[in-house]
């Protein structure tokens, strides 16, 4: 068992190191910016894998917490812009256009960097905790929980679009200052931003790994497989689920903040249904029950999409192929590519050891997911 753990840590370490070394090979600012995008999507995939793969909470509104994080960062960077962009009295330009005369109270705390950075993580986490407490406290699970997360995201999206004078409405928040801390400036098209994001991804990945291997992580997996039984053992199932839901939201919030730095604006599309669907697809393709699988799934899918996006026709066909691939994976490979690799890895050493290959081939098919069902 401990050999397995150290092998897992080694694998995660190697992947993260490879990601961190990319800027040494790539010297193109445009490409680095593109890769930074993919890494942020990788963080989102890790967040969803925690709640969906490990606790069985299918969050169809993961983009909600992502978008809120991104707006927190955008509000902070907007207030830092030089006065020429901000109208009279240091008001953001879109507020001036909407005849707002003084800074709304909700914007005031965002003058301070520590507050803004904390808000980008804590506001999504608290909101998710509230929603989680509301759902899981009432023992809402499965399909209904999925629909509630989707509805919650649409509500937040509608409110942001509607409150144009405070949020910039459809246009979002544009013309932002560059993020700088301790004298380091993070230009969207620079290696420093890439390193910042790669570091955050590494920390997130190892944090998620630690949680998944902790006692809490084991209980969560038990909840995913047999919720009633865990409840009968006396565990507060709602509390555990709410915790992982909030943690996943915090990661998504952090990813959202980084996304604002890379995109140089925040927009209501960041909380949209299409992005949420994409996150689910990445995680399903990579393997929902493997953190690194989910992350690599995101990098792979968005990478191919990015490479094809040079040509409009290719991109359109790609969406079609993606949809088909997704349906096939849901049907035949519920554990995604990571599950397929694991099954392969499990099969090979066994066939070497036991000559009676019949027994060895039986084993993996028994551990196939979902076929057990609740009979």
């Amino acid at each position: 068992m401990s050999g397995k753990v150290s092998r897992q840590i080694l694998l995660y370490g190697v992947v993260c190191l490879a990601i961190l070394l990319v800027p040494l090979l790539v010297n193109d600012a445009y490409l680095l910016n593109k890769y930074a995008h993919y890494l942020i999507f990788g963080m989102l995939a890790v967040a969803l894998s925690l709640s969906w793969g490990y606790a069985g909470i299918l969050n169809l509104g993961q983009a909600m917490t992502f978008g809120i994080g991104s707006y927190c960062m955008a509000m902070f960077l907007k207030l830092k812009t030089v006065p020429i962009h901000t109208g009279s009295d240091g008001l953001p330009d879109f507020m001036v256009w909407n005849n707002v005369t003084e800074l709304p109270w909700i914007w005031v705390p965002f003058h301070s960097m520590p507050v803004a950075l904390l808000a980008g993580i804590l506001v999504p986490a608290l909101l998710a905790a509230l929603l989680g407490w509301f759902m899981f406290g009432g023992r809402i699970a499965g399909v209904y929980a999925a629909i509630i997360t989707l509805a919650a995201m649409v509500v937040v999206n509608l409110i942001i679009i509607d409150q144009q004078s405070y949020t910039g409405g459809f246009n979002g928040i544009t013309d932002l200052a560059q993020f700088d801390v301790f004298g380091l400036t993070f230009d969207a098209y620079s290696a420093s931003t890439y390193y910042l994001i790669a570091t955050c991804l590494t920390v997130t990945l190892f944090l998620a790994l630690a949680v998944s291997r902790s006692k809490t992580g084991l209980i969560l997996q038990a909840v995913r497989d047999q919720e009633e039984r865990v409840r009968f053992f006396g565990y507060d199932v709602a509390l555990y689920k709410t915790f992982v839901f909030a943690l996943s939201a915090a990661i998504a919030g952090l990813a959202g903040m980084l996304y604002t730095i890379v995109m140089e604006f925040a927009s209501p599309t960041f909380l949209g249904v299409p992005l949420s669907l994409s996150i689910v697809i990445w995680v399903a393709v990579g393997g929902r029950q493997s953190l690194i699988g989910a992350m690599l799934g995101a990098l792979f899918v968005t990478g191919v999409q990015g490479a094809l996006s040079e040509s409009e026709a290719f991109l359109e066909t790609w969406t079609l192929v993606m949809g088909g691939l997704f349906v096939l994976i849901v049907l035949f490979m519920p554990k995604g590519l990571a599950g397929a690799f694991e099954a392969l890895a499990r099969r090979f050493p066994k066939t070497e050891r036991t000559v009676g290959a019949h027994h060895a081939t039986e084993q993996p098919s028994k551990s196939r997911p979902h076929l057990g069902g609740a009979l």
């Binding site: 399909v143 509630i148 649409v154 509500v155 669907l277």
Partner: protein, 289 residues
């Protein structure tokens, strides 16, 4: 008085569209337990079918309804055979698979028919307006209301008075025991799915003269229809009728008194709260085990 009547008629028109779209979803969900997120795409395909028949063959809308129903029902049948039937014991995965199917359908339509808005002509015989109690309403909207109610009654009669309906009710109560009494539940599920899809296609064709036709049009309808089903209660056809009436009139009023966005957000919040405290819906008496 005129205002009240016309407000009620506006609400009724919204209700009839909701009922048309939600009926198919309610049947599929009620019988098989599958949340079909591709339902909106069935509606969209129905609308495109009507558009295609009109622009290519010059058919009027009313005769093309039969063709639309058969075509979309056949598609639903195929989808059930190819995808859905493998997923009946994995409800979360049906959401994902139907979502993926929806994305594919949208993309296929966008690639073949193009992404621009399309328009379908009203049947000329119904393009006039009718006076009711001092208010005027378009004859076509009344026609849609009539068709929606007719379909509802037809479905209800199938469910109540035919032997197929009896089998469906048995399967809904307990699939395993129904199967052991010799009811072919796989076939019943397949027919239910096809019928639900066909009704969605009809809904799309009937809506097409009232709204513009685009590849994305289904997305809004599936959310609305789902709200109707949740509010009405999973297994109650009458609940679906009642909740589409309530939601139609309510959205008509809210849209009149405030702005659309906030009205929609409020309705969604109400739905979330209803799911939390009454997951069986407002009008359902029994709950699926």
């Amino acid at each position: 008085m005129d205002f009240v009547v016309s407000q009620i008629l506006t609400g009724l028109s919204l209700s009839s569209i909701l009922l048309l779209v939600a009926l198919g979803l309610a049947i599929i969900y009620g019988v098989t337990g599958v949340i079909n997120l591709a339902h909106g795409e069935f509606v969209m395909l129905g609308a495109y079918c009507a558009w295609l028949l009109q622009t290519e063959l010059g058919w009027s809308l009313i005769p093309s309804l039969a063709v639309v129903f058969v075509a979309i029902a056949a598609l639903g049948w195929l989808i059930e055979v190819a995808v859905i039937r493998h997923l009946y014991d994995r409800p979360l995965d049906t959401i994902l698979a139907t979502w993926g199917l929806g994305v594919m359908t949208q993309q296929i339509v966008r690639l073949t028919a193009g992404g621009e808005l399309r328009y379908v002509q009203m049947p000329p015989s119904l393009s006039g307006s009718v006076r009711i109690l001092g208010a005027t309403d378009s004859a076509y909207r009344l026609f849609v209301l009539g068709v929606a109610l007719g379909l509802f009654v037809l479905t209800w009669c199938i469910y109540r008075y035919t032997s197929f309906g009896l089998k469906l009710r048995a399967i809904t109560q307990n699939r395993a025991i129904a199967s052991s009494f010799g009811i072919n539940s796989a076939r019943a599920y397949r027919l239910t799915f096809a019928y639900g899809a066909g009704i969605a296609g009809l809904a799309g064709a009937l809506i097409s003269p009232l709204k513009s036709v685009s590849p994305e049009m289904g997305t809004t309808y599936v959310v609305d229809a789902f709200m109707v089903v949740v509010l009405g209660g999973v297994q109650s056809l009458v609940g679906t009728l009642a909740s589409s009436a309530v939601l139609g009139e309510a959205s008509g009023l809210l849209a009149y008194y405030s702005n659309d966005t906030i009205a929609k957000a409020l309705v969604l919040i109400a739905i979330v709260i209803i799911i939390r405290f009454r997951p069986q819906g407002l009008f359902a008496l029994r709950v699926r085990a």
